[in-house]
Amino acid sequence: MASSANNDRPNHRTARAFCLTSAFWFAAAASFGMIGAGYLIAPDFMANIGWLHFGKARPMHVNLMLFGFVTPGLLAAAFYYVPKLLRTALYSEKLGVFTAILWNITLPIGVVGLAQGRSQGREYAEWPWSVDMLIVVLFALVIFNLVMTVRRRLEPIIYVSIWYVCAAVILTGTTYCIGNVIWKPSTGALLGIPDAILLWFYGHNVFGLLLTPLGLGVAYYVLPLATRSPLYSHTLSLIGFWSLIVVYTHIGTHHLLQVPVPTWLKTIAIVDSVAMVIPVMVFLINIWYTVQGKLGTIHADIGAKFVFTGTIYYFFVNIQGSMMALPQVQRVTHFNNWVVGHAHIGVLGFAGVVAIGGIYYVLPKITGRPLYSRFLADLQYWLLLIGVTGFAVVLTIVGLIQGNAWLNGETVYRVLPEIHLYYILRASLGVFIISGAYIGLYNIFRTLYFNPGAATACE
């Protein structure tokens, strides 16, 4: 249905703009990550650059990955498939392009704010208040555009991908306001322990209510279509969707198991963290059964290949996450690099890889021409695969060394020489990831502009 509907040639300018936004900020965010990794190896290597030392490069890296790379990347595909699945056009391409432009104005303001030290000091909620407000506006614009598109639909049945996109933007628009305490512009925080509870409710839901549903939306769109297979089960789609919203929202407090917060809150967080296997396995069973026996088809389509790989990381990150919520496990894993590894599997391995897959899947349909280079896309695939898997292995090893040494009474300082080598390995693997990011940026840019067309493309 994708290619045949191109008669009236919608220009998809919004989706194009979001593809480019995502690719650009992936490269930028990876650069900041690389700088951070460098500091951990040689803390004097960029000594006395006050606006870019580790404590500033890290929130730039994290926030740009979340709000610059993954979110726009997943939205890029959504801006293409939502109208497509509803047999209509996007409500307003103008508004969509404006949203993308505002997005690219907001992020540099945020980065400059962090560089100036205007961080609010709360993880994932660092952006200063002015940037928070801009992000709320951005979400409002996206919600408005999508809701109006849904209202104008010609297709009566709303496909599961659209449930996820709608829920993601509306829920995150809400939790972003609450989590950033936007009614208190001076600090953007509550007082004392309730601040920690709110922060981790919000922080975990950046992943749970934004990246995950957007990512699952892309997977539900790309994989059945690429394999030309009907979705395995509507019932499982329903169970997966509703249980995700119910369960994911409960688990933020598992970041605070070793902190004086009410025990009942910790209990709920642990129980629901384990219960995360329900929405996760329901989704995976549904999508993996859908593509059963079609791995060859997936392999042939670079977009689907990325997305399918992302679902495997989704499996790992969630099994790992459920395990880490167990207090006995967390005694070892908390406060060290194990968690950093976990975060990279989730945000890059799952959500990021799915976002890139979504972009590569819709780009040829948007431009009406194949990707600029299938070879570069494959190269990027392997660079990211090696990079993020290597991250998972190396950071898990470091985490185990740190966590067990600390439990055994070693001081943080004593363990530093032992983990130095792993920081070097981690930065080396970062070179794979950053190369993948820049190659992706080039490939996506050339697909959209100066694309010589089918003649020179590999496919």
């Binding site: 500091y39 951990l40 803390p43 004097d44 000594a47 006395n48 650059i49 030392h53 580790f54 404590g55 929130p59 030290g117 961080s119 609010q120 000091g121 709360r122 993880e123 809701v147 849904v150 209202r151 709303i158 449930w163 709608c166 509306i170 829920l171 809400t174 939790t175 609450i178 600090t187 925080a189 007082l191 004392g192 322990i193 601040d195 509870i197 709110l198 922060l199 409710f201 329903l238 509703w242 919203i245 929202t249 407090t253 070793q258 902190v259 917060v261 009410p262 809150l265 406060f335 060290n336 968690v339 950093v340 740190q402 600390w406 439990l407 001081t411 943080v412 300082y413 530093l416 020489p417």
Partner: protein
């Protein structure tokens, strides 16, 4: 079930509202903001220092959250909700790339912190903290005020101890090296003073001692033990020059005790958390052999020889 826009939007928001009520609003409504027994409000300059701490992302590497099973820095005080009642935002942190700072106040005197901020490797050779010289001395001083208040009333108590002994240590230092060395030795309990290093000097032991020295001591006492390490310009009283200690009755016991316990008031920290017995004896003997040029290792009185001795 038929998924209409209404079902999606209202359903999702209703679930979210219910969960926010239970998981966020309810604990907020039930919050206990009673200050703990160590709580006191921060002074203006301490609050200003905290803002510098937040602006520079110190929270990404330093937790402020002591757990029931911690051993390291500040582990004597397990965190309670009442310790955080003036924190907005709360800075629990999620990583220990560096140490927990809940009870950092008064662990070191101010001059140690200044040297450490100028470049952390001046006082801690293996540290991977970026240097903060670029902040400028004024901001470093303000930040130090916040760091020295971490632990609140308990920090004040420790700071009182630092201030008292700093005065004493400066007086002793300014009275000249003869008096200073005597003063330092006299504050070691008598039992320790008369214990020689019970283990014989071995080449392997000296090599291990050298490594401990390079990891822990070299920043202040310098590569040749003359007290002219990188930290020296920032520290007063300055780091001890080991090369003047010959024939001044510096026993292995005195060295051991000073390394284990530190000299409060000076930048010399205690190493009892970081170095086990063997490491302390061996670094002490390394200093005695190479820098003092006089070691009492394996001299009388010593008890039954240890089974490992060559």
């Amino acid at each position: 079930m038929r998924m209409t826009p209404t079902a999606i939007f209202i359903g999702a928001l209703a679930i979210l509202a219910a969960v926010v009520f239970v998981m966020v609003f309810w604990p907020y409504a039930q919050r206990d903001m009673t200050p703990s027994e160590i709580f006191r409000p921060r002074t203006l300059v301490e609050a200003e220092g905290r803002a510098i701490y937040i602006a520079n992302g110190c929270v990404y590497c330093h937790s402020q959250s002591i757990r029931t099973f911690d051993w390291g820095h500040g582990a004597e005080r397990i965190a309670q909700a009442g310790d955080y009642v003036s924190d907005e935002p709360i800075l629990l942190g999620s990583q220990r790339t560096g140490v927990d700072l809940s009870q950092e106040g008064g662990e070191h005197p101010d001059d140690w912190h200044i040297a450490h901020f100028i470049n952390p490797r001046y006082t801690r050779p293996n540290s991977i903290m970026p240097p903060f010289r670029w902040l400028g001395l004024e901001k470093i001083n303000t930040l130090t005020r916040y760091i020295q208040a971490l632990g609140l009333k308990q920090a004040d108590q420790r700071m009182g101890r630092q201030t008292y002994w700093k005065k004493e240590a400066i007086q002793a230092y300014e009275a000249g090296p003869v008096y200073n060395v005597k003063w330092l030795a006299e504050h070691v309990p008598a039992g320790w003073r008369h214990i020689p290093n019970p283990y014989p000097t071995t080449a392997a032991g000296l090599m291990r001692g050298r490594r401990v020295y390079a990891d822990f001591c070299i920043g202040c006492h310098g590569p040749i033990g003359d007290g002219m390490g990188d930290a020296q310009p920032w520290i007063y009283p300055p780091p001890l020059n080991f090369t003047i200690l010959k024939d001044r009755q510096i026993s292995g016991g005195i060295l051991y005790y000073q390394i284990m316990n530190g000299i409060t008031g000076t930048a010399m920290p205690y190493f009892k958390r970081e170095l086990e017995s063997q490491k302390i004896w061996e670094v002490g003997n390394y200093v005695a052999v190479y820098f003092i040029n006089q070691s009492d290792a394996n001299t009388a009185p010593h008890g039954i020889d240890s089974a490992w001795e060559p």
